[in-house]
């Protein structure tokens, strides 16, 4: 197996940049910040899980595997790394915009480690109102909480601070 040069590494990152998250296909695995990097020797993509029990972990790995194989990088391994643990601060700006456009309120930046309640105002991704309320701290997936807008009355998901 040959080590990857800079061109190949960039190419791999570009490939990963187009791999959608299986649960939230509006964002890619790089948007979510779960691609930790590309190692040149031995060639590997380093991936970190969001939550330890996230059922999408295997599906994400399978999607990345398929994309790498298709792009001619069948020799590149996928390795799971735990440290440092993923936090929502790793979601990119583009990822945050895409979440919002998809109807999921993105987590605020920079406070993930300090606040788990998320006391700051949350904007409704549909109408933009900040007149919103938490319905359930746990939602349809480990990474989301359920909220409701008091103005447009629509329920929405919010990406939890983590």
């Amino acid at each position: 197996m040959v080590a990857l040069d800079a061109v190949a590494s960039d190419l791999i990152l570009a490939v990963l940049d187009a791999v959608p998250d299986p649960e939230i296909p509006a964002v890619t695995v790089t948007d979510l910040g779960i691609v930790r990097g590309v190692r040149s020797d031995p060639p590997a993509v380093l991936v970190t899980p969001t939550y330890t029990g996230c059922p999408a972990t295997l599906a994400i790995e399978a999607s990345i595997r398929a994309a790498l194989d298709q792009a001619g990088f069948a020799q590149v391994r996928i390795e799971t790394v735990l440290s440092p643990p993923w936090s929502t601060d790793w979601i990119t700006e583009r990822g945050r915009e895409r979440l919002e456009n998809y109807g999921i309120a993105p987590p605020p930046k920079g406070i993930a480690a300090r606040h788990i309640r998320g006391d700051e105002p949350v904007g409704c991704p549909r109408c933009g109102s900040f007149h919103t309320q938490e319905v359930s701290r746990f939602g349809s997936t480990p990474c989301k909480a359920l909220w409701r807008c008091e103005d447009c009355l629509e329920p929405f998901d919010r990406f939890k601070c983590h």
């Binding site: 959608p20 299986p22 649960e23 296909p25 590997a44 899980p49 939550y51 330890t52 029990g53 996230c54 059922p55 599906a59 790995e61 399978a62 999607s63 595997r65 398929a66 194989d69 391994r77 996928i78 390795e79 799971t80 790394v81 735990l82 440290s83 440092p84 643990p85 936090s87 788990i116 309640r117 319905v135 359930s136 701290r137 746990f138 939602g139 349809s140 480990p142 359920l146 939890k160 983590h162």
Partner: protein
């Protein structure tokens, strides 16, 4: 819409998942410590596995959708944490067993979880009492474990403690809501705490298995964490307008495999499928 998944080479996949440390595993401790380290990792993994399995019993049965989602999500986190600890236990053991083998093909006497987590769910207040006591302990314990001299353990703890913070907070909120609620909810909350309080001492008991690991800086000393636990429990109970339960006679034994009858029944349900259909995949 979920992307269509390709056929993947199971062997490659297994290899990639089985070698999270990028190759052969060097536990970084003397060979004398390995049996204790294996036992210790079973304790950590089994606590999470058994409680996670218990919580799944609520799935579809909780009194409200919010609670159903919460308990299922907490169970999922715990099973995820158990997978990490038990996979590592398998690597330390070096006999080719992974987390699944340890979870599904081990008999009740070989389980090392504390007695608290195997107790039946009871009513919702009892489930909350058990969760509150365990998560409050677990948050303090994992927090200390992030300083473990063994990086493979420290990084699991750092990952897990972020999830457990949510569990501790959610269960504390419910202790307050039920304790400072109606006459009925208060009575049930008191009953739940009274019952489960007897299982608390076991979680803070230091013993000969962990002593060499504590000396090596791999495991925290359990006794040192008790005062923080007591302080946090006291604070939440004050908010809930409750007082600490009367001190009952503590029961122990899970850490050395002396379990209550409940664990065997739980395992019979959990292990039935993989034992009846070995190597089944889907």
């Amino acid at each position: 819409m979920a992307p269509s998944l390709p056929t993947i080479d199971r062997e490659d996949e297994a290899k990639a998942v089985a070698a999270p440390h990028g190759g052969s595993f060097d536990p970084g401790v003397s060979a004398d410590h390995l049996p204790a380290l294996f036992d210790y990792l079973l304790r950590l993994g089994d606590d999470s596995l058994v409680l996670g399995q218990r919580l799944t019993e609520w799935c579809g049965h909780a009194p409200a959708l919010e609670i159903d989602l919460s308990l299922a999500n907490i169970g999922l986190d715990l099973i995820g944490q158990a997978t990490l600890f038990l996979n590592l236990a398998g690597e330390v053991e070096g006999k080719g067993r992974d987390g699944d083998a340890l979870a599904f093909h081990r008999d009740v006497l070989a389980f090392r979880n504390c007695l608290l987590v195997e107790q039946p769910n009871g009513d919702f207040a009892q489930t909350i009492a058990r969760q509150f006591l365990f998560s409050t302990y677990s948050q303090a314990y994992l927090d200390a474990l992030t300083g473990s001299a063994l990086p493979a353990i420290a990084e699991i703890a750092a990952k897990a403690v972020k999830e457990v913070r949510y569990h501790a907070e959610l269960s504390a909120d419910w202790v307050v809501r039920l304790g400072d609620g109606t006459e009925e909810s208060r009575r049930r909350m008191i009953d739940g705490l009274d019952w489960f309080w007897r299982f608390v001492d076991e979680m803070f008991e230091d013993d000969g298995v962990e002593a060499p690991l504590v000396a090596a800086g791999i495991a925290p000393k359990r006794g040192d964490l008790r005062s923080a636990f007591d302080a946090r429990v006291g604070e939440v109970l004050r908010q809930a307008t409750l007082s600490l339960p009367e001190y009952p006679r503590a029961v122990k034994g899970g850490r050395v495999g002396h379990h209550s009858e409940h664990l065997g029944h739980l395992l019979a349900t959990m292990q039935f499928l993989p034992r009846t259909y070995p190597d089944a995949m889907w």
